[in-house]
């Protein structure tokens, strides 16, 4: 049925352009209809995107599928080129899944300038879907930067008290990283032109460029810094708690669920295949694993003493992303697959946690843990949803959180047992930060009179949370369909990492000569 | 004869310019300015640009300078002025920079203009146009044919300037 509609040919374009259309529609419409319009647009996008699950066929190998390319800036060889592989497939689905829920979750939260807000949410969706489906480095970079703008305004306008500080910090910090990446991109492009004579930003073309180990190291550094800030990896993480605490609930949801994934996605998409020699260099691997493990343990400890529930969850994000990083740099199938699963699982569970904390905030206008207590008595459904989500977050087996962490740790342990043991201790600390918070908020005596007034979940909120919880459990019980779709692409990345050899001087020379010859012939 | 006239006009123009800059009184500056404009108009005539010389006198010296004068009088700046030339440091810097520009210009001109004069002799064409269409027609022809869009835009610009000037100068109600 999908092929009858030529689904493969238009779906990716639709996923990018429909939300953009929606953006304008929302801006055009009346203020009080904005939220419903935005919800409808994002739902349409989500429903359309579901078909990707079947449209993407892992049997065809791990390369890009559903590709299409139009020349954009022909002089520079920039193409508007889209495509999906097993890695980006789930990131796109995660984005289209999260956006409508985040929009639905902001119905009560966003009171002022609704039109602008919902338009920005849709614009954000354009950006993230674009990032994950671009197969042209230039296009990727454009979308990568595009996501900054809506998020900057979402935090800066609808945020909490220190919103401006947080928004600027978020923007400058991440932009700073990506500018270094831009330098790297241009360098690769220039090398491609010089060595191969191709003026192209297409991933497939850039992968052919024989870069020397030194070059790879520098480029790796430039790209890695950009993505490490985005992820964020340990010493670059301080923008995240600030941004999360100040951001409005839907902003936090999208930030945690999708934007952070752009960083780790970049690791898998660029760092490993583009600079394999650097990525598998023992020093680099050691560094990344160390930072990842520090992130896991350090963030867990810092999270445990946070007085603000939202900040706590923000720090847990750092810990989870630490798992992803070590999974990726385990450089084996289990680790990579595990890392990708943690990304998916973290997207859903942390998104849900932020939504839940947002719901608490709407009811009590505070997020300080000590202000709560005994909420389970007056809001049992809310408490149930929260406890389930928290358990997923700490990786209870049978939920999505476990599968990812298990594979990640298994992968790390395979190649680096010592690191594996340290990282596995993260499962203890996950309980150490999460359970006290759950207890202080939902259990204990219902003492404060304000807490007595807290309402339970409304029907709208049930509609938001139910699919998320269902998905967390379904993925936990039966992750194989996901793993099956990711595996060929993951294998391809790994093959590239391990097969790559440093180009000899002779090779570069011969390539260059060939290029010169072809150029001469053409002229 | 034209050479002598040129040097007279040039001397007056430079003298006027210096006067503009050094006069304490704005009115004096203005009058020096008029002298400069008038002598420049004379040089225009020597360069066979009769129409421009005419509107230089009419529009520039006549209208714009009077506008300045009105403003000076309106603001009551005619007397009770204070010394407003900057101090030594500003003077030195100003002289250094302007001297630099002057030096550079001189350096450029030091190469001579003989090449230009021989290679690009458009004077005959202009003379022919002047003979054929008269002083006004010679300049009006390109103005209303090749440059008509720019011309119209200039009109629009003037309109906008008038509106803007009124809006700015009007007393806030």
């Amino acid at each position: 049925m999908l092929s009858a509609l030529a689904y493969e040919s238009w779906i990716l374009h639709a996923l990018i352009w429909l939300p953009l259309l929606g953006t304008f529609h929302v801006l055009w419409a009346a203020e009080d209809r904005a939220k419903w319009l935005a919800l409808r647009w994002s739902l349409v996008v989500f429903v359309l995107s579901v078909g990707l699950w079947w449209a993407y066929d892992p049997a065809l190998g791990g390369g890009y599928q559903l590709t299409s390319s139009l020349p954009w800036i022909a002089v520079w060889g920039v193409n508007y080129a889209l495509g999906l592989d097993g890695i980006s497939l789930f990131m796109v689905l995660l984005s289209t899944f999260t956006t409508p829920l985040a929009i639905l979750g902001s119905f009560n939260y966003i009171k002022k300038r609704q039109k602008a807000f919902y338009a920005l949410m849709l614009l954000l969706e354009v950006g993230v879907v674009g990032v994950f489906s671009a197969v042209d480095l230039f296009l990727f970079y454009v979308f990568f930067e595009l996501t900054l703008v809506p998020m900057y305004f979402i935090i800066g306008i609808w945020g909490g008290e220190r919103r401006v500080y947080a928004a600027i910090k978020f923007f400058l910090y991440t932009a700073f990283g990506s500018l270094l990446m831009l330098v790297g991109i241009l360098y690769i492009y220039a090398r491609g032109k010089a060595l191969l004579g191709v003026t192209s930003f297409a991933f497939v073309d850039l992968l052919q460029i024989p870069l020397t180990p030194q070059e790879q190291m520098w480029l790796f550094g430039a790209f890695a810094l950009a993505f490490a800030i985005k992820v964020p990896i340990f010493p670059f993480h301080t923008w995240l708690p600030d941004a999360h605490v100040e951001a409005p609930t839907p902003g936090s949801v999208v930030l945690a669920a999708v934007l952070l994934k752009m960083g780790t996605y970049g690791f898998v998409r660029f760092l490993l295949p583009f600079f394999p020699l650097a990525a598998r260099h023992p020093n680099v691997v050691t560094l990344m694993l160390t930072l990842g493990v520090i992130g896991i343990i350090y963030a867990a400890w810092v999270a445990a003493v946070q007085p603000d529930a939202k900040k706590l969850v923000a720090y847990t994000s750092v810990a989870h992303m630490g798992f992803v990083v070590i999974g990726i740099f385990a450089l084996n199938v289990n680790g990579l697959q595990g890392g990708l699963l943690v990304m998916i699982s973290h997207g859903i569970s942390t998104g849900a946690l932020f939504l839940l904390i947002g719901m608490l905030y709407e009811r009590r206008h505070t997020r300080l843990i000590k202000e709560f207590g005994g909420i389970g008595r007056v809001a049992p459904w809310l408490a149930t949803a929260f406890v389930i989500t928290a358990l997923v977050s700490i990786g209870l087996p049978g939920t999505s959180g476990f599968v990812g962490e298990f594979l990640t740790l298994l992968g790390v342990f395979e190649n680096h047992p010592g690191v594996g043991i340290l990282a596995t201790s993260g499962v203890i600390f996950a309980a150490y930060y999460m359970l006290p918070m759950v207890q202080s908020v939902f259990f204990n005596a219902l003492e404060k009179p304000e807490n007595r007034e807290v309402r339970d979940l409304s029907r709208r909120e049930v509609v938001i949370l139910a699919p998320m919880i269902a998905l967390m459990i379904v993925i936990g019980v039966h992750p194989t369909p996901l793993l099956r779709r990711m595996e060929p692409s993951v294998q391809m990345v790994l093959e590239r990492v391990y097969a790559a050899a440093p180009p000899s001087a002779a090779l570069i020379e011969s390539v260059q000569e060939e290029t010169v010859e072809t150029v001469e012939r053409v002229e | 004869m034209p050479e002598i006239l040129f040097f007279i006009f040039a001397a007056v123009a430079v003298g006027g310019a210096v006067g503009v800059v050094v006069s304490r009184s704005p009115v004096a500056s203005l009058l020096f300015m008029v002298a400069t404009l008038a002598s420049t108009a004379g040089i225009f005539v020597l360069l066979e640009a009769h129409f421009l010389a005419a509107i230089q006198i009419l529009v520039y010296a006549g209208a714009i300078m009077v506008l300045f004068l009105f403003v000076i009088m309106l603001l009551n700046l005619g007397h009770d002025y204070q010394r407003d030339i900057r101090g030594n440091v500003a003077m030195i810097i100003g002289f250094a920079v302007t001297g630099g520009i002057g030096g550079l210009l001189a350096r450029q001109l030091g190469g001579g203009t003989a090449g230009l004069e021989t290679n690009l002799g458009a004077g005959d064409a202009i003379d022919a146009a002047l003979r054929e269409y008269g002083a006004v027609g010679a300049i009006a022809r390109p103005l209303f044919t090749d440059y008509v869009v720019a011309f119209e835009l200039t009109g629009l610009l003037l309109l906008v300037a008038i509106v803007g000037a009124i809006a700015l100068a009007k007393k806030a109600s």
Partner: protein
């Protein structure tokens, strides 16, 4: 006569520039700007003898722009004067960040 005209124009331009830098009176700064414009007009006219009538056409446009500029500029000066009771530009330092 080209070379002489150009020297003259350069001289007037430099004097005008110096005026803009050293004078504090806004009206006189304006006059100095007019001086600079005039110098440029002179070069246009001088070159037009060798390049074509377009030089003179350009002068025409410059004059129109100068007129517009003078009108608006003087209006601004009047407007400022109403606030500050002076045309000394040292008093107008609000134009930053």
């Amino acid at each position: 006569m080209l070379a002489e005209s150009l020297v003259l124009a350069g001289l007037i331009f430099v004097i005008g520039t110096l005026g803009v830098i050293v004078r504090r009176n806004a009206v006189i700064m304006f006059l100095c700007i007019e001086l600079q414009l005039n110098a440029v007009n002179l070069t246009f006219v001088a070159f037009s003898r060798y390049v074509g009538i377009e030089g003179q056409v350009f002068v025409f446009f410059v004059m129109a722009v100068a007129a517009a500029e003078a009108a608006v500029g003087l209006a601004i000066i009047i407007s400022i004067f109403r606030h500050y009771e002076t045309v000394n530009v040292d008093s107008f330092t609000r134009l930053k960040w």
